[in-house]
């Protein structure tokens, strides 16, 4: 049992495991549904993964597992704000399973530090990305709410939420 909080998200997407895999690992695809984020890696285990937004590094990590089109895992270190940069990386794992006329996608995000600010900040971010990913694969278009123009407000919101979380944790003592 790992310590700290864990997200588990599941969605069904009407596509093939291969297309979904490409959507998760190819920067030309991620930039179309993931807050304009371009993912880059050579996808060898141990290699670096980088996330770019508006030409700036937003997050980084290390490839832990790359088994197409079934299982993808990497560590995740938020770089876009100083408060998050201090934290140790967490871990994201994607599992793809064929279902009837669709692919079941499970995302597990765990290994956060106790009292993690990143955890507080991204709480609620994944459902937006997943809804946009689903729309992108099923209709060819990502959702505006997770589009490029939403990236800056999303980052600001994440920072604000982390600060609110820290304030209320202090208030509770």
């Amino acid at each position: 049992m790992t310590s700290g909080p864990t997200f588990v998200y599941v969605t069904y997407i009407a596509t093939t495991p291969e297309r979904l895999w490409q959507a998760l690992t190819d920067g030309a695809f991620t930039s179309q549904y993931w807050f304009g984020t371009r993912i880059e890696s050579d996808w060898r285990v141990g290699s670096r993964v980088t996330f770019w937004r508006d030409g700036a590094l937003s997050d980084s990590g290390e490839v832990l597992e790359y088994t197409p089109p079934r299982r993808l895992s990497y560590t995740w270190h938020v770089e876009f704000h100083e408060e998050f940069r201090r934290e140790k990386p967490s871990r994201v794992t994607f599992e793809l399973e064929p279902a009837v006329d669709a692919v079941k996608l499970t995302i597990v995000h765990d290994q956060f530090e106790p009292g993690s600010k990143v955890f507080a900040a991204i709480n609620g971010g994944w459902p937006k990305v997943l809804a946009s990913l689903k729309s992108f694969l099923e209709t060819g278009r990502g959702l505006a709410v997770a589009g490029c123009e939403a990236a800056k407000p999303a980052q600001d919101e994440a920072i604000a939420r982390a600060q609110r979380g820290a304030a209320s944790a202090r208030a509770r003592g």
Partner: protein, 104 residues
């Protein structure tokens, strides 16, 4: 989407979702604590919630942990809430929270 609305149309099941929202990743035993429901009833409600993809069960060793999966609820919201309404709705919701529960 029918399955999601059906699953949400029951106060006991909403209560289980509330408990997972308060603390994610609980076993059946933990979810049964301090509830006026039999273990069988909780188990049945969880099966309905899992069927609607609102709860995901993950095996960790001998334990089965239950997680709230907000993705279907988000999809419902996406369907009817316009992208420009998000900030206004958030402001309204914050105001309501502040007025109704000053200690929050």
């Amino acid at each position: 989407m029918d399955a999601v609305f059906k699953a949400l149309a029951d106060s006991s099941r909403r209560k289980l979702l509330d408990r997972l929202h308060a603390r994610n990743g609980q076993t059946l035993g933990e979810l049964c604590e301090r509830l006026d429901m039999t273990r069988q009833a909780v188990s049945k409600h969880l099966a309905v919630l899992e069927g609607a993809n609102l709860v995901v069960a993950v095996r960790r060793g001998r334990e089965k942990l239950h997680y709230l999966n907000p993705v279907p609820i988000h999809e419902i919201a996406e369907r009817w809430i316009d992208k420009y309404e998000h900030t206004r709705l958030q402001a309204l919701s914050d105001l309501k929270k502040k007025l109704e529960n000053r200690n929050d």
